[in-house]
Amino acid sequence: MRIELKREGGPAYFPGLARPRSVDLERLPAEQAEALREGVRAARFFEQPPVVGATPRGAADTRRFTLTVEEEGRRHSVQLVEPVEEPRLHALLELVKQAAKALYRAHGGPGGSRGG
């Protein structure tokens, strides 16, 4: 399974944070990879609509995250608009953010020590 995370919005445009981050579960510790697989299942990710949530009228500086999951030949993207109120989707998003940050630190990030 591979999960891509794309972040948009927030207080400023940061080119480094706007780049999609890809999480290959093969590269994660077994426990973390299993937590992500379970998170995808629990959130019924492949049954979710393309967009979950809506930016309130007049809102500014809010963020949205697009998760794309590839597994066994199928691929699905869901854009999550903050605040993500559905608890299982929220939990999945947090897991992916943590994994992306850890992978970025270990392998992809310039300097290898920090990551957004």
Binding site: P11, Y13, L17, A18, G58, G109, R114, G115
Partner: protein, 384 residues
């Protein structure tokens, strides 16, 4: 063409004329001076708003405005306890003493400074001009690295301690978020492409002016940074944006390089960031800086007033672009101060970012005949 159903603030967001006249007759010397100045400048704006209104003025008057009450700050700070489930717990109401929670204290003080700014400088009673309570929600989420305006309340995260400190740390960021509410109430400006960049820029302008006023800074002493102190020591950068030198606020291996342009020739066409609202806002930001710097003194007194009246102009549409906004600021300068230093400064400020406002005949909505007003065009003026 965009048709707005009605303009909610055609005639009653500023001091009602009968009250101003009463103060001019019966008030103290200082009150009389302010009231007379208000009467002198408001007549033109009031007529323009009536002319631009889509509805008869009588239908717009639905409630009395509390413009001559004492400063009526109504602040409520909520502690989200690192949850994202509103409403959290109220921890401080207006007038209550500070707690030992620094984020709650900063939010309370920042809301107060922003309220005072709009009240003292523009005579505006809160976001809606009618004393709307100001609500801030602190400690939102876990390691949440953002602050946002959700259309009715301000929300602040604690930051992730890796890249970002707590978002209440910068008074101009608090002013920025609250100003989004003012723009939504007066405009609105769509949060997309140039209108969205104007929306962002107006929040930076008023956010910066809030901080400058608290610090008592003149335009030449201000740093014109937005979000100074927000980054942790891990980040190579001093702020989120620089109004003075867009594109120079940060250059970091994780965040990347500040992408803001300061001139139309560098305008960024993109679908990212709602069409570049936080990117191309550098252009009108720098125009404001240039105007304020040329006029000198306290930036909120003339440049800020001109921008505020432009925002309230009935010709502001949801899709107003840079050129249209530039033209409206020039007209605001002329109406407020006559043809002279202020109008020249505004015209030149825009020209230095590549937007030329020239005098040609255009029609003013609702008025018979054609009047001479500035129009705007993309210019190729050299960058300052």
């Amino acid at each position: 063409m965009i048709h707005r159903p009605r303009h909610r603030h055609s005639i009653h967001c500023i001091l009602p004329p009968y009250l101003a006249r009463s103060i001019a007759q019966n008030g103290s010397d200082a009150q009389r001076e302010k009231a007379l100045r208000t009467l002198a400048t408001d007549g033109t704006f009031r007529a323009l708003r009536l002319a631009g209104s889509r509805t008869p003025p009588s239908s717009a008057v639905t409630r009395p405005r509390a413009m001559m009450v004492e400063s009526a700050r109504q602040r409520i700070i909520y502690d989200m306890g690192n949850s994202e489930a509103f409403p959290g717990t109220p921890v401080r109401f207006e007038g209550q003493p500070a707690t030992d929670d620094i984020a709650a204290t900063e939010a309370y003080d920042g809301l107060g400074a922003t309220y005072d700014f709009f009240w003292e400088v523009f005579g505006r009673n809160s976001i809606d001009g009618d004393g709307m309570p100001l609500m801030a929600f602190v400690h939102y989420g876990k390691g949440y690295d953002n602050a946002f305006w959700d259309g009715k309340r301000m929300v602040f995260g604690d930051g992730d301690d890796d890249l970002f400190n707590r978002f209440t740390i910068c008074m101009d960021v608090i002013g920025h978020e609250l100003s989004h509410g003012v723009t939504e109430d007066e405009g609105p400006l769509w949060y997309f492409r140039q209108a969205g960049a104007l929306n962002e820029s107006l929040s930076d302008v008023f956010g910066s002016l809030v901080r400058q006023k608290v610090l008592g800074q003149t335009a030449d002493k201000a740093d014109w940074l937005i979000g100074k102190g927000l980054f942790t020591g891990n980040v190579e950068g001093e702020a989120l944006r620089s109004m003075k030198s867009p594109g120079t606020a940060f250059d970091d291996d994780v965040l990347g390089k500040d992408p803001q342009p300061g001139h139309m020739r560098d305008y960024v066409r993109t679908w990212e960031d709602n069409g570049g609202v936080h990117i191309n806002s550098g252009i009108p930001n720098r125009a404001f800086y240039l105007v304020a710097s040329r006029l000198g003194g306290h930036a909120w007194e003339r440049a800020g007033r001109i921008w505020y009246e432009a925002l309230r102009d009935p010709r502001i549409k949801p899709d107003t672009n840079f050129l249209e906004f530039a033209r409206i600021t020039v007209m605001s300068a002329t109406r407020l101060y006559g043809a002279g230093e202020e109008e020249d400064a505004v015209r030149e400020g825009w020209e230095q970012v590549g937007i030329r406002v020239s005098r040609t005949g255009i029609r003013v909505p609702g008025l018979v005949g054609t009047v001479t007003q500035p129009s705007a065009e993309i210019g190729r003026a050299p960058s300052a």
